[in-house]
Symmetry: C2
Subunit: 478 residues, 2 copies
C-alpha cells in the first residue's frame, strides 16, 4: 500500500510548528531561530525535560500538544528519530526537518543501515521530510527561520542546499547585502525530498524569480539536470558544485555521504543547461544579488565611476578579463561632464576616475546621472571609496555628515537604475575603517542597489549574468 504524499507546495502551507528535542545545548538554538521574527505561527516545544523557555511551555510528549502540528523540527537523538517522525505524522504534520545526523554520512555499515530504516519508515507515512543531517526549511514570509540572530529579508531568491552551513551562510550574507529570499531548502542526505523535486517546485513558484543551489552529489544527476534545464529557460539558476576535486569529493562523502561524480560531466551539463556556476560563497551571493536586484543588462558594455586612476586601471583589466566591455564615453557625454570637473588628475574617458573631484557630493552624483544616461554603457559600476572619503572627511572634521555623501550617491545610482533600466552595481572595497564602511554599505542596501565586498565580485557577477541572458536569448531565437 502506498500512502499519498503531500507536494512541496502543500507541505509549505504551515500554521503551526513543533520543535521536538528542545535542548539547552547551543542555547535553545531552534527555539531562538523560530521565535526571533514576528509571525502568526503557533510554535510548540517538546522535550523530556518539561518547563518553559522564552515564554513557551515545553511539553513532555508530542501527544500532549493540544492542537494539530503542520510541520516538525526534529532534533532528537538518532535512536528516537523514527518513533518521533511517526508520532508527528500522526499529529497531522505534512513536513519535517530532520536535523539529527549520524546516518550514511558516517560511511559506516551502521550509519547506512539506519538510513535504510529511516527511508523505509518515511515512505510509509503521509509526510515529507528534509534530511536527515540538515537544517531543513527557512521561509521568511512565514517568519520560519533555520538560524538565530539573522535579519528578516524577504525577496525573490530561492535556494536549495545539500549543506545546512552553506544555506545559513548564503542567507546571512545575502540578507546583509540586501538580497531577499522567498524560501530556502537544506536537504542534507535527502532521503525523501531530493533536489530535482525542489527545482521543479521553483519552476512554478511565483514568489521566486532566481534560484541558487549548492549541490554536492545526487543519486539522480540526470533528473536534476533535466529539471534545471527546464527551470533555466524561465528563471536564472546559479550553482555552486561541491566536490569538484578528488579531495573535495572525499570531503563530500564524509559530509553528506553523497557521491560527487565527475566534474567534467557536471560542468558540461551545466553549460548545456545554461546554468552559471560559481566556486565560492562570495561569488554565489554576488551573482544572486545582480539577478535579483538589477534589471537585465542590455549588453556587456559597462561604464565605471571611481576615484583613483590606478585602481581604475586594475578594474578595467578585471572587466576585460571577465568578458565585459569598457567602451569609451561618447563625445556628447564628455561635453556634459567636462564643465563639472576641476581637478587635472581626472580622466573622463571610461573608466571615469574623478580624483579630487570625487569628494564633492554634487559633482559625483551629477557624474553618475550623466554617465547613467550614456548610451555607450548598458551597466554602471560605482566604486564607493569609503576609504578616501573617510580620510578626508575625518581631517576636515566632517566625519559625522559623511552619510549624507553616501545618501546622495545612493539616490543618484538608484535613479539611474530605474530611469534607464540599467544595472548599477556598487563596490564598497574593504580596505579599512569598518564602521564607516558599514554605514555606507547600509545606505546602498536600503536603496535596493546590489553591493559587493570588492570590485572583482561585482565584475564576475555581472559577467555571469550577461552570459546567462545571452545564451537564453540566443536559444529562444533558434
Amino acid at each position: 500500500m502506498t500512502v499519498r504524499k503531500p507536494s512541496i507546495a502543500e507541505m509549505l502551507d504551515i500554521q503551526s510548528v513543533a520543535i521536538i528535542g528542545v535542548s539547552m545545548k547551543l542555547g535553545y538554538y531552534w527555539v531562538h531561530s523560530m521565535l526571533q521574527w514576528p509571525h502568526d505561527l503557533k510554535v510548540w516545544l517538546v522535550s523530556k525535560r518539561e518547563g518553559e523557555v522564552l515564554g513557551h511551555k515545553i511539553y513532555a510528549d508530542i501527544d500532549d500538544i493540544p492542537d494539530k502540528i503542520d510541520y516538525a523540527i526534529v532534533a532528537v537523538p538518532r535512536k528516537v528519530v523514527l518513533p518521533v517522525l511517526k508520532q508527528v505524522a500522526d499529529k497531522g504534520a505534512k513536513g519535517a526537518t530532520v536535523f539529527t545526523s549520524g546516518y550514511s554520512e558516517l560511511g559506516t555499515p551502521d550509519g547506512k543501515e539506519e538510513e535504510r530504516k529511516f527511508k523505509e519508515l518515511v515512505e510509509g507515512i503521509p509526510m515529507r521530510v528534509f534530511g536527515p543531517n540538515c537544517m531543513g526549511l527557512c521561509y521568511p514570509r512565514l517568519g520560519f527561520a533555520f538560524a538565530p540572530t539573522i535579519i528578516k529579508r524577504m525577496g525573490d531568491v530561492g535556494f536549495i542546499s545539500q549543506s545546512g552551513g552553506v544555506a545559513i551562510s548564503t542567507y546571512t550574507a545575502g540578507a546583509e547585502s540586501g538580497v531577499g529570499f522567498s524560501k530556502l531548502f537544506s536537504f542534507g542526505n535527502s532521503v525523501d525530498i531530493k533536489p530535482p523535486e525542489l527545482i521543479r517546485y521553483f519552476q512554478d513558484d511565483d514568489e521566486t524569480k532566481v534560484i541558487g543551489a549548492y549541490i554536492e552529489g545526487v543519486e539522480s544527476g540526470s533528473e536534476l539536470l533535466t529539471e534545471m534545464k527546464v527551470l533555466a529557460k524561465k528563471k536564472p539558476v546559479v550553482v555552486l558544485k561541491g566536490g569538484r576535486s578528488v579531495e573535495g569529493s572525499r570531503a563530500v562523502s564524509s559530509h553528506t555521504g553523497a557521491l560527487a561524480g565527475s566534474q567534467d560531466i557536471w560542468s558540461a551539463a551545466f553549460r548545456q543547461a545554461n546554468v552559471p556556476t560559481v566556486t565560492t560563497l562570495e561569488e554565489l551571493v554576488a551573482t544572486l544579488s545582480v539577478f535579483s536586484l538589477s534589471p537585465k543588462p542590455k549588453s556587456r558594455n559597462i561604464g565605471m565611476v571611481a576615484i583613483s586612476g590606478g585602481t581604475s586601471v586594475i578594474y578595467t583589466d578585471m572587466c576585460v578579463g571577465a568578458g565585459l566591455k569598457v567602451p569609451t564615453t561618447s563625445t556628447d557625454t564628455l561635453e556634459k561632464l567636462d564643465p563639472l570637473i576641476r581637478d587635472v588628475g581626472t580622466s573622463l574617458k571610461n573608466p571615469i576616475d574623478l580624483a579630487a573631484d570625487y569628494y564633492s557630493d554634487q559633482t559625483t552624483a551629477e557624474v553618475l546621472r550623466l554617465v547613467g544616461a550614456e548610451p555607450n554603457f548598458d551597466s554602471l559600476i560605482f566604486e564607493a571609496d569609503v576609504h578616501h572619503i573617510h580620510q578626508v572627511a575625518t581631517i576636515m572634521g566632517a566625519a559625522d555628515v559623511v552619510v549624507d555623501f553616501w545618501r546622495a550617491m545612493a539616490e543618484a545610482a538608484r535613479e539611474v537604475s530605474i530611469r534607464h533600466e540599467k544595472p548599477v552595481l556598487v563596490a564598497v572595497p574593504d580596505i579599512a575603517y569598518p564602521q564607516a564602511r558599514k554605514e555606507a554599505w547600509d545606505i546602498f542596501v536600503e536603496k535596493k542597489l546590489p553591493v559587493f565586498r570588492n570590485m572583482q565580485e561585482a565584475v564576475t557577477a555581472l559577467s555571469k549574468v550577461c552570459d546567462y541572458y545571452e545564451v537564453r536569448e540566443r536559444r529562444s531565437n533558434m
Copy 2:
C-alpha cells in the same frame, strides 16, 4: 656639467621635511599626513597665505624657513613647480615628492612639453624627485606618511607603485591586516626616480624582506625585469601589472602617461624572473601578508580546520584548484583527536570540520595544536567562523566573552606557527556582524597571524608563496 645626484639611501636620511603649497583644500591633507604619527622630524609649512595650521607656523617663502630642508613635498600649481624645486634644492633638499599633476598623463602636447622642461630642470639639480603626479614617499619608521588617518605599522614589506592611490590602498589595507611596511615609493610619471633603481635599492635594504610592486608601464622594461630577477633570487617580489588589457592600457595612458606594453611579454618575463603576479589589490595584500608574516612552507600540504562540512568541501576544492594539496590526517593524529570530539556531524580526516564541537574553545584550541603537530600538514588554514560563534554566543547571552574564544584560538594558532615553523593562515569570512568580525580580526592581527577576508584569498596567497619558494629552490640547485 653633470651634478652629483644622491642615491635613494642617501635621500632617505631625512631629519626635516617641508610641505610647499599648504592648502586648505582637502583639509590640509599633507599637513595632517605628516603630523599624525609621533616622530622627531622637523616639519616646515610654506604657503603664500601665511598663518598657522595644527600648531605649525606657515611661512610665506621657502627661504624664510630658518633651517635646512632634507625633503620637500611639492603640492603647488604646475606653473610654479620648477622654481620651487630649484629653491628647495638650494635649501639642501636631497629629495622631493612632486604631487602636482598635469604633465604627460594629460596626453596633450602642452603636458608633454611641461614634462620635458621638468626633466631638464631636475637633471641639473643635486636632488632626487618622485613624480610628478604621485604621492612619493611613505616611511613609517621615520614617521613620514603620505596619507592621513592611517595606522602606523612598521614591518619588512617594501612597496613601489606607479599609482599613489594604489600605494595608499595597499598600505592601508595591509596595515589593517597586520602587514607592516619598511617604506613605500609612489613614483607616478617617474621622470627622475624610476622603478629599476627602486628595485635595486630593495636588493640591499636590510629593513625589507619582501617587496610588492604596482607597475603600469615603464620606459626601461628590460632593465626593470633584470633588477627584479636579481631581487627575486634573494627576496620575494610580488607584482600587480596594470594595463594588461587593451582597455586597461588605454586607462594607463590617461593615468600616468605610460605605455603598458604587451601583456604576453610581461607575463613571460615575470615567470622567467620568478616573480609571482596577482590581479587584484586584495590578492596583492594577501600574498605580501603570507610572505611577511609566515615561515616558509615546507610543502604544498595543508590542513584545514573549519566548522561546517559544506564550506569545508568548498574550501577543499579551492585549495586543489589553486595547486595546494589536502592530504588525509594520519592515524596517529586521528587517535589523538578522537577523544576530544563529541558531535557526530564531525569529520577529522582533513578538512577537519568540527560542527558543534567548534563552539568549545578548549576543544578547538586543542584541535589546532594537535593538527599543527601533524607531519602530513606543512601549513594550516583556520576558518575563524565569526558568523556561527556570534549567533550562538548571542542566544546564550555570552556575546561579551566571545573575544576570549578568539584569544584562545589566536594563541593556539600562534603557538603552532612558532613551535612547528609552519604558516598558520586565518580566514575571517565577511558574512555579517561587522562589529563582531572586527573584534575577532584584531585579535588575530595582534598575534601577528596573517588574516584574510575570505578563504579564497588565503588559499591563493599561500599557493603563490609555494610557487615562489619552489622555483627559487629548484633554480638554486641547478
